[in-house]
Amino acid sequence: MIQQPSPPPPIGKTWRRLYTAVLLFLAFEVLIFHLFTRAFE
């Protein structure tokens, strides 16, 4: 596929950073859920 440069996102400066932020947030959620489960089981 021909990759065309896309304009940067309004936050995070680059798309790569924004994607990383979404995935890190997922990891953070999993961690919080794990702690939540441990705390209340």
Partner: protein, 568 residues
């Protein structure tokens, strides 16, 4: 329902319809009508994507799921944020660059018209039946609990949706989605506050969470790899990723939502916002269900939450048996309430020994009560073999009707109807788009003016609205076939995902090989469905795997495909 509830319910729904009609007025061009002129900002795209996925069943059944099985269902959504990133990288820029109206239009650029038409037809079958179920399922639950006429309920929801979806097209659908989702979430917030405030004075929020945890309802994450359990971290991450990729990447009801973004960036931001917010939103809805569970540790729940089936058994030959179970249930509940009260007191006093002892007692009573409820379900099924013996879907609505103050019942019902309308509107909108763009305009009438295509699109919306309402009205008589209809999406999702995966990532496979690969994949799914015991979620994996593999094999024996500029 009191007058105030009716006023709130009808007022909210009519306001939504009027707003949709007003917002979508003066639609003259096809791009305007089907894609809101590709002018929407990321927040509209995001909320529209979320409202499309969140049907009334999400708000009715998910709390019931937490009530009966705890919060582990949230893990099903763990693959979704990853899917949002993958689609933002791959699908969104391709769809935008080619300025397609539907996802299937891209398949003609990449393969050929046959693959496009086949995929569009698969979509029309599964989404047509799926949208009918989106109408039928909440109408059934609401009419059973409230004693309403199911036909009138179905007709009312269907007619309201058809009015603004036909009149205002995608713009009306997307803008009403924003308000519908906010109303639905506000309704859940109200239910949560009422559930917590209705607990005994000595039971606070933290106490309630701790009681739910002791009763195994705070089991959010389970890292154990076990193929036999439907919801754990691994099945959520990998299975959830597959389902989310198929749903958001190949289903026009979702693709159409982010095709309305003004730029690639707006569409991407809409999807990424969904990736961030969806998991906490599901957690919140499940948490409401867990709090309703705690509420019913202190307030007596019915033996079965399905009032119609309970009434049927009470007037049947099994009445005495059912009454005996009700008495057992009541005495177990009385013991449970004492144990739960003691548990809260022990936890507040940091009395570890009593906490452990009382927890064991409460868990034993809960297990005993679940056995009683199972026996009641068995009686219900014995009395009426076609009956839905599971009452999970009725838990939350029963809680609303019996415990919310006047006025707020109307708000909650409005929030459930808003969710039903939002998912149905997306369905009708996408069915009309695919029918007109991929079938009518492509095969049947290529030379009409833009305005004429808008008129055809409006008639297509009315046609699909009529089809869904008619099917939903008839669904009541389908009995066990309904289960099959509910699973119809899994008949086609795997194959559709295979087609798009090959389109995006395997350049050397051409249209003919893909078409044969898709047919083999469908045969494999049909074989699994009718000749094996395989759980239906796995049909998606089989369809996708066989589709990709067969397409690659067919390409090896067919002449090498010609790579054109548009197919890149």
């Amino acid at each position: 329902m009191r007058t105030a509830d009716w006023v709130v319910l009808i007022g909210t729904l009519l306001s939504i319809v009027a707003y949709g009609v007003w917002k979508g007025r003066r639609q003259k061009r096809l791009e305007q009508y089907l894609l809101a002129d590709r002018q929407l900002q990321w927040y509209t795209v995001a909320l529209s994507v979320m409202a499309t996925q969140a049907s009334a069943i999400t708000f009715l059944s998910t709390p019931g799921q937490a009530y009966s099985d705890g919060m582990r269902f949230v893990q099903f959504y763990l693959g979704l944020p990853i899917a949002m990133v993958i689609l933002s990288v791959t699908a969104v820029p391709i769809y935008h660059r080619l300025k397609v109206f539907t996802a299937y239009e891209y398949l003609e650029h990449r393969f050929d018209v046959r693959t496009r038409t086949l995929t569009a037809l698969l979509f029309l079958i599964q989404r047509g039946l799926g949208t009918a179920m989106t109408l039928y399922a909440p109408a059934l639950i609401v009419s059973l609990v409230l004693g309403w006429n199911i036909h009138l309920t179905t007709l009312a929801i269907g007619a309201l949706v058809i009015v603004y979806t036909t009149s205002g097209g995608t713009k009306a659908v997307s803008w009403t989605h924003m308000h519908q989702l906010l109303i639905s979430l506000a309704g859940m917030g109200i239910a949560l506050i009422v559930a917590i405030r209705s607990l005994p004075p000595q039971v606070g929020l933290i106490d309630a969470v701790r009681v739910a945890g002791r009763m195994d309802r705070m089991n959010v994450i389970d890292f154990n790899f076990d193929l036999s359990t439907p919801y754990n971290f691994w099945s959520g991450l990998f299975g959830g990723l597959m389902v989310a990729l198929a749903y958001f990447g190949t289903d026009q009801s979702q693709v159409q939502r982010y095709l309305t973004g003004e730029t690639v960036a707006q569409s991407r931001l809409g999807l990424l916002f969904n990736g961030i917010v969806k998991v906490p939103m599901q957690f919140f809805i499940l948490f409401v269900g867990a709090m309703v569970f705690v509420f019913y540790q202190f307030v007596a729940p019915p033996l079965s939450f399905n009032p119609v089936q309970s009434a049927k058994v009470r007037s049947s030959a099994y009445a005495a048996e059912f009454q005996s179970l009700e008495q057992t249930h009541e005495s177990t509940f009385a013991a449970k309430r004492i144990a739960a009260t003691n548990l809260v007191a022990a936890m507040d006093a940091n009395d570890t020994e009593t906490v452990e002892r009382t927890t064991e007692r409460l868990q034993a009573l809960q297990a005993q009560d679940e056995e009683t409820r199972k026996a009641a379900s068995a009686l219900i099924r014995k009395n009426d073999p076609k009956a839905d013996a599971s009452d999970t879907d009725y838990v939350f609505l029963t809680f609303i009707i019996q415990n919310l103050p006047v006025g707020l019942v109307g708000v909650l019902l409005a929030s459930i109807f808003c969710a039903a309308m939002s998912a149905t509107a997306s369905g009708l909108n996408s069915l009309a788009s695919t029918s007109v763009v991929d079938i009518w305009k492509r095969h049947l009438s290529k030379e009409q003016s833009d305005h004429e295509y808008v008129v055809v699109s409006k008639w297509a919306t009315i046609f699909w609205g009529g089809f869904c309402v008619a099917f939903a009205l008839y669904a009541n008589q389908l009995g066990s076939l309904i289960v099959a209809v509910n699973r119809v999406g899994s008949f086609f999702y795997g194959t559709m995902l295979a087609i798009f995966l090959v389109a995006f990532y395997v350049k050397r496979v051409g249209g003919t090989a893909m078409l044969w690969g898709a047919l083999v994949a469908e045969l494999a799914v049909v074989y699994c469905a009718f000749y094996t015991d395989m759980a239906w979620l796995w049909w998606n994996v089989v369809g996708c795997g066989v589709g990709v593999g067969a397409a690659l094999l067919f390409q090896m024996v067919l002449p090498a495909r010609e790579i054109t500029a548009t197919s890149e």
